[in-house]
């Protein structure tokens, strides 16, 4: 099953014309059926253990968080919403005073918090509440025990995973610039499950990259200074702004397919090794056992999915690398690969591996996209929670895309699990005797 197109993973960008690198994209403008960037808080607040996320928004924002994180209600969350009220809008209360009061209240309840994010929302953006200034002021008030940063997770500016991008960009923007002479080290950017992070760290160490940091760190103080000695490698395909900030600090990117599947993980690790001047033969040797395990796991699931058609609704920007994974490693056929935003540069290595002619779409007009999906009647549809049950009721098998964000899917050891996520809806229909 390994017909790897010989891509030099370490080279900056695949040549034009390869795969889908410069394939045409259907751009749509209509109703979008996606979460806003606030949703990223659901996993970010669990990842960064000494951080708190304070959304400055409306009851809608609070309700969104409740609906998206409802199952975690039994643990006290490290996020909350400062709900803007009528009296704030009418100017009867000074919003900055109100914010200071709420932050003080929060900090007295949670003195363990070291990093506070003020997270902007649509209402706070529209009324032009300056959260950057507020963060600066609050940082001064609560220094040195608490640092306050801000970013926007608003729905008018961010789609779903772009909230994580904005958050990581805020963290990156706050990192100390390193002296130019500093030794080279690797920064892996993008929130990963702890277990995945540990596996990838071990792998990178074995490969011979001794200094590896992950953004975000598990604690707010865990990050190194960033400068020309920094090589960064994205672990998630939605970090456009974060990359820009890192570039601005002098850090240099390593371009690679994303670490999904056996092939993706291998190429991702190889790219890192090559950037650090490590011999590919060594990488082959070190990764061989885990890679073989991953391939064996995939081989077991592949017969269930081979030749089956799949339709990706736009959701997390993970869609293109996932499409690469399901086509190349599971033999599926993409009917449409939608993404809220296509960063061609960062995705180039993945797009290069996608079969030429794969239909790509960017943005959304959900009604028309549903028409296309119904017409194509794919074997599997990857979509958001709002669409899944209605499509199931119409006889289509679905996989909720949010599970791809909430499950550990990256790395060799998770390749089989990732494949199983796609197989499960089909297995289930078989068990229940559902006919499409």
């Amino acid at each position: 099953m390994n017909d790897l197109t010989p891509v030099d993973a370490a080279s900056a960008a695949p040549a034009a014309g390869v795969g889908c690198v410069d394939a045409p994209v259907l751009r749509e403008r209509g109703q979008r059926e996606v979460f806003c960037g606030l949703t990223g808080i659901v996993w970010l607040h669990r990842k960064i253990q000494d951080a708190f996320f304070l959304i400055v928004g409306s009851r809608t924002c609070a309700h969104l968080m409740q609906s998206a994180a409802g199952v975690m209600i039994f643990a006290e969350p490290r996020f909350a919403t400062a709900i803007i009220e009528e009296k704030d809008l009418a100017g009867l209360a000074d919003m900055n005073d109100e914010l200071d009061r709420i932050v003080a209240q929060l900090i007295s309840r949670r003195p363990d918090i070291k990093l506070l994010f003020l997270v902007g929302s649509c209402p706070s953006e529209v009324i032009k509440l300056d959260l950057k200034r507020a963060a600066g002021r609050l940082s001064r008030i609560h220094a040195p025990t608490l640092k306050v940063l801000n970013y926007s997770g608003s729905g008018i500016e961010t789609t779903f995973t772009q909230g994580e991008d904005a958050c990581l960009a805020a963290i990156a923007g706050d990192l100390t610039p390193a002296a130019p002479a500093e030794a080279t080290h690797l920064l892996v950017a993008g929130c990963l499950a702890d277990i995945v992070e540990d596996q990838l760290r071990r792998m990178l160490l074995e490969i011979g990259i001794s200094s590896v940091d992950f953004l975000p760190g598990r604690n707010s103080g865990d990050l190194p200074a960033i400068g020309p000695g920094t090589r960064y490698l994205l672990a998630q395909p939605f970090l456009t702004d974060t990359a820009r900030i890192l570039d601005g600090l002098g850090a240099r990117p390593i371009l690679a397919p994303f670490p999904l599947g056996a092939e993706g993980t291998f190429l991702w690790l190889s790219a890192a090794a090559s950037a650090f001047g490590i011999d590919q033969a060594h990488v082959d040797r070190v990764t061989a056992p885990a890679r073989a395990r991953a391939e064996a796991a995939l081989a077991r699931i592949r017969p269930r999915l081979e030749g089956k058609s799949i339709f990706f609704f736009p959701d997390s920007q993970l869609e293109p690398p996932l499409a690469r994974f399901v086509t190349r490693e599971l033999g599926m056929v993409c009917v449409e690969v939608g993404s809220p935003y296509l960063n061609r540069q960062q995705l180039a290595p993945d797009l290069a591996l996608l079969p030429a002619g794969t239909p790509l779409s960017e943005g959304q007009d959900v009604d028309r996209q549903l028409d296309r999906c119904r017409a194509a009647r794919p074997d599997l549809t990857v979509c958001g929670l709002g669409l899944a049950n209605p499509l199931e009721a119409e006889g289509l098998a679905t996989k909720w895309s949010i599970e791809l964000l909430f499950s550990p899917i990256q790395g060799f050891e998770q390749a089989g699990d990732l494949a199983a996520l796609f197989a499960r809806p089909l297995v289930r229909r078989e068990l229940l005797g559902v006919r499409s």
Binding site: V34, S67, T81
Partner: protein
């Protein structure tokens, strides 16, 4: 600004969605950013609906703000009309669109669509979900009956020989057991000779709304949703309404009496016959001797006003519980809850702050918590048995089986659901008798419950453990005597603490609290074995 961790209600436009989704042939165009589409999943995931809510969101973005969001809204309305061909259209704005002031009503009017268009004003920064639902339903009823309202039918035509007809008002999408309540109440009404004309908004189309005034009277099943519409129908068409909510055996009997009265049917039929008629088993179950152990169980109740008032009545008069506290998040109906609290001699907690509710539960140490999904989680964390009685609820509270809250079957369902999490009568006694049996102890949980029940006693244990340890390592305190003392400051001697731990866990919290209060009232700074038994004697009088 107000700090919120979890919320009991969504914004008012979610209330409007609940009405639109409940109805047939109605489409809602909501001026809102893309992220607000999360609300769809409430219906498709939590309620497991098999189709998308009939809602089109304009999903404007930051780059549209400088340009023409109004044009975007008009296009969305046109496209939605062309695609879905609704019989009526609702238009409104979410919190963000409210700030950009595009006037959805005016814009939609300008399109001169050949269907009724109802423009909703949903003040997101003042009001909440239930208000939004009530307002939307009221506006729809008004808009669709405006023409006929010209000649108020103050005196309704006499009924003659025909069976009386009523409408059932209030059930919505995403309501707590609304689907089954309708079935149960319809059955109940049929059994006393009353027919149902229209059920609305759930399942109603535009034509149904237009014939609401044909009925002899209305029944307001959910006052939080239907009160304003019922008021308007009464003012406009002289249609009386019944607002007794038939949750519980007593309330169901009162409901029957009231319906007969309003329908002009003879009352005075004895209620035993009504119970037989309606298959009410709960009162007998409550009287059967196995239920003796329910006596005086301390219960805390929180939720929407209607369900809380009903639950308080059932708990105190139909199950013999002691209501330790009640409260509601619906400020609009706080008065009813306050009145119920006064009647029960407890203080009402009116708040939508989940942390306050949690603090109250911790302070009251009830043995059973009846509430929303939030109280279920609080209770789970504290190891207290609980049952869900009110929205908001999660996916598991939309059961596949028939499980109404109203009418006879509702009372039966409530008996089962509330009693199930508790330990059964003899089991409780056996555990008390054989405390030291290593396999049969409080930590093993009730025999009819699953492993999860284990968490409950364990947590009660851990709540006690630190204090017990502290007591054990402390040197034995001398008895101190002060005049007035805060119960929280009273300390336990090691032997009293050890004795307390022999008391079954489900009454231990109460014993601890009573003893502390007793000691404080006597000015004892330290509880000895003596004090413990003095307190026991004092309270068992």
């Amino acid at each position: 600004m107000k700090l919120a961790v979890w919320t009991y209600e969504g914004p008012p436009h979610v209330g409007a969605m609940r009405i639109a989704t409940a109805m047939k042939g109605v489409h809602f165009v909501l001026h809102a950013p893309q992220g607000d589409t999360y609300a769809d999943l409430l219906f498709t995931m939590i309620e497991r609906r098999d189709r998308r809510p009939p809602v089109t969101y304009t999903t404007f973005q930051a780059r549209d703000l400088g340009g023409d969001t109004a044009e975007l809204f008009k296009t969305a309305v046109q496209n939605a009309y062309a695609r879905y061909k609704p019989d009526a259209l609702l238009v409104g704005a979410s919190c963000t669109a409210e700030l950009i002031q595009d006037d959805p009503g005016g814009l939609a009017d300008a399109l001169a669509l050949p269907i009724p268009v109802v423009a909703l004003e949903l003040p997101s920064y003042q009001k909440k979900e239930n208000w939004g639902a009530a307002e939307t339903f009221y506006q729809i009823v008004r808009a669709l009956n405006g023409a006929t309202a010209a000649e108020p039918k103050a005196a309704r035509a006499p009924r003659g020989d025909r069976r009386p007809v009523c409408n059932l008002l209030g059930p919505t999408a995403l309501g707590f057991r609304h689907r089954d309540d309708i079935t149960e109440v319809t059955k109940l009404l049929a059994s006393i000779g009353v027919d149902v004309g229209v059920v609305a908004p759930l399942g109603a189309g535009v034509d149904d709304i237009r014939r609401l005034s044909d009925a002899d009277f209305n029944i307001v099943l959910y006052p939080e949703i239907a009160a304003p519409a019922a008021d308007w129908l009464k003012r406009t068409f002289g249609q009386p309404f019944v607002s007794i909510v038939p949750i519980g055996a007593g309330a169901t009997r009162d409901f029957i009496t009231k319906v007969r009265e309003v329908a002009g049917l003879p009352n005075g039929v004895d209620s035993a016959a009504d119970d037989d008629l309606a298959g009410l088993r709960a009162p007998w179950y409550a009287r059967s001797i196995d239920s003796t152990y329910l006596t005086g169980k301390r219960v805390f109740i929180f939720g929407d006003a209607t369900h809380v008032v009903a639950a308080a009545r059932i708990a105190s008069t139909e199950l013999g519980f002691e209501v330790a506290g009640i409260g509601t998040y619906t400020r609009e109906h706080a008065r009813d809850v306050r009145a119920a609290a006064t009647a029960l001699g407890v203080e009402a907690l009116i708040t939508d702050d989940y942390l306050e509710v949690e603090a109250r539960i911790i302070a009251l140490q009830p043995e059973l918590v009846l509430g929303t999904q939030m109280e279920r989680h609080i209770a789970k964390r504290l190891g207290i048995p609980s049952a869900v009685i009110s929205a908001p609820v999660h996916v598991q509270d939309y059961p596949a089986r028939y499980a109404p809250q109203m009418g006879a079957e509702g009372a039966n369902v409530i008996f089962d659901t509330w009693v199930h999490p508790l330990m059964m009568g003899l089991e409780e006694h056996l555990i008390t008798l054989f405390k030291d049996d290593f396999e049969f102890h409080e930590g093993s949980g009730a025999s009819h419950l699953h492993a999860s029940a284990k968490a409950a006693p364990a947590t009660t244990e851990t709540a006690d453990a630190p204090r017990a340890e502290a007591a054990a390592t402390r040197p034995e305190p001398e008895q101190i005597r002060i005049d007035a003392l805060d119960p929280a400051l009273v300390r336990w001697s090691a032997d009293a603490e050890a004795e307390l731990r022999k008391i079954p866990f489900f009454v231990r919290g109460r014993a601890r609290r009573n003893t502390e209060t007793f000691a404080a009232s006597r000015g004892f700074g330290v509880i000895t074995l003596e004090t413990l038994y003095d307190a026991k004697a004092h309270y068992s009088r």
